[in-house]
Subunit: 164 residues, 2 copies
């Protein structure tokens, strides 16, 4: 549900990044570029958005974001350690102060015996630590992707506002 | 303007890529992830979307996509040769059959003495050649970004349908 009486999350994040002089990058799997798209919807966002990787195939997670193949094999691509490695590597690759990552099962297919449809891990890497939050949403593909982007932007906002 | 009586461009592109067994990657500057987001809006798109780079900062265009610093200095980031190098490098980086690129001035700021607001270059790299189309849109930031994504998807569709 889009906020009507308050600023968009991407605008709130943007004004804080600008005020603090910080930069951000993204590493997205299931959201496929939606987080970067929302961050760059904001005019002037080139002052704090450096870039991003869309790591849709696991081979890209490994080759571009240094996610260990053994970690993908052991935990699966939709897992806490993969979200953590994606965020940490994106921060290094883009030389930013912060990096957001998302890996999830947006649907309508992709569920496994151990991982439900809608399962997502959202990562944030910063120089004071890396956080990963786990969510399961039960909407359709479009809903789950927007929810994952919201959760990523909220995680960054919580960090920037000193709530982590 | 969203099509009402026909399939979305990203769905048309997706069904052709699937039928032909081809893969695609993206290298986006001004669209900031919108093209990849639209491609991956389609369920099952992981069969043909491998990944993408959002090269918002010029440093990312150079470091990740091998766009020559001299080319950026001589022609500017919003130029035909930069769009061409972005597309060619993305195709190599992601090892795909095709790669789309966009570099442009979405607005509301960024125009220069020689480059108007709304100027965009859209690139497509394939194993049979690289094409770059030039556009100037006069809408607002959101309009120009959607128009650039439409133009990129249309360029790929034209290629897949043998119209290039």
């Amino acid at each position: 549900m889009p906020p009507t009486d308050r600023e968009l999350l991407e605008a709130q994040v943007g004004s804080r990044l600008r005020a603090l002089g910080l930069t951000v990058a993204t590493a997205e799997s299931s959201t496929g570029g939606l987080i970067a798209k929302r961050l760059t919807d904001i005019p002037g966002s080139s002052d704090y958005v450096i870039g991003g990787v869309i790591a849709y195939a696991n081979s890209v997670k490994h080759r571009l974001l240094n996610v260990e193949e053994q970690v993908i094999a052991e935990y699966g691509a939709v897992s806490q350690p993969v979200a953590q490695q994606m965020a940490d590597s994106a921060r290094t690759l883009f030389r930013t102060d912060a990096a957001l990552s998302v890996t999830g099962i947006a649907g309508p297919t992709g569920a496994t015996a151990t991982k439900p449809l809608g399962l997502h891990f959202i990562g944030l890497s910063t120089d004071s630590g890396t956080w990963v939050r786990r969510y399961v949403w039960d909407g359709d593909r479009a809903h789950n992707r927007e929810a994952a982007a919201d959760a990523a932007l909220q995680l960054l906002l919580d960090y920037l506002d000193g709530r982590l």
